[in-house]
Symmetry: C2
Subunit: 197 residues, 2 copies
């Protein structure tokens, strides 16, 4: 299964077909949403065999990541957050998230996704389904029985921090050292995820 | 001083001049940002006396609120949040904020402001200055010496909640009873604002 976009599954003559598949995938995700889209429909619309879509990109999640030009797959990211002492989960979560956003190569596509979610119902639907199932659902499943509302309150804290820090550029948050933000925010995430009050 | 947009300061023949002032105000705020804009420059650009701008709208903050069609002025909102027991500050803050966003008449202009901040540097600059000085600065000043980063972490939590709840429509957060969201989020705000760790 290829995880990277330029992995071994990419033949030298496949560039056009890959590009066509990604274009059709974007249309399919936009039309049907993340949950409603299927590799089969994307393949049909691109005029290729579903096995080729799988060969080039892997799972539906990986097709989505490639089509949206996201800098990571949740499948890679989530274990990295979950792996370690349970009482440092909040800290790992905020460090991973801030790390992604502080990297210009990663920030640009994330911002694009967030902006499209803010400006069109279709974008919001896609983001909602993708974040819900691929990211939050996975975290919730891994840390055990938890009210999804608590996972989403944690997600809201992080979304708000990156918006004020990286989009609105509110000072002093925009220029604060990552460690200061981690120290402030990690206990909040820890409380939401591990200490049901 | 008139606080409401259709207050006693509005003469029946003043509609055109009011509209011109608001148009010029939007241009001035867009050009100079919230901090750099002045009633004097707005008046000059609208071809009226600064006293007339003040007569129609009041302070610069009130001109901004009218020009941006915001549903409230921070000057009215903040005392409502601050008034009451200190240990319920977090709860009043999240209730006030959720209350504004749950009201369609209020949500639409707030969303417009947030979207423009997300999609253009100019919008972000205006929101940044306005939120920073008119809202967060006032709250920070009223609750005593506090690291502005803590006020902004609280703001980030609320911004994230309204984005996921009212823009991205992430379930179950989007449909959760207000009381459930308050119970979850109020302790976070309380910690940021009143218990320096």
């Amino acid at each position: 299964m290829t995880v990277t976009r330029r992995g071994p599954g990419r033949p030298s003559d496949g560039g056009d077909r890959r590009a066509v598949i990604l274009t059709r995938a974007r249309e399919e995700f936009a039309d049907k949403g993340y949950a409603g889209a299927s590799l089969r429909a994307i393949a049909r619309s691109a005029g290729v065999d579903p096995a080729l879509v799988h060969h080039y990109f892997g799972t539906k999640e990986q097709v989505f990541v490639a089509a949206m030009e996201l800098p990571f797959t949740p499948a890679e990211l989530v274990p990295q957050i979950l792996d370690g002492p349970r009482d440092e989960l909040g800290e790992r979560l905020v460090r991973t998230f801030l790390g992604i956003w502080s990297h210009p190569d990663f920030r640009t596509p994330m911002l694009g996704m967030l902006r499209s979610a803010m400006t069109g119902e279709q974008g919001a639907a896609m983001l909602r389904e993708f974040v819900g199932s691929a990211l939050l659902g996975r975290i919730g499943a891994a840390i055990g029985p938890i009210d999804p509302l608590r996972v989403q309150a944690a997600a809201a804290q992080m979304v708000g921090v990156v918006i004020l820090r990286h989009v609105v550029l509110l000072e002093p948050l925009a220029s604060a050292p990552e460690d200061d933000v981690v120290a402030l925010v990690a206990p909040t995430l820890q409380r939401y995820l591990t200490s049901p009050d």
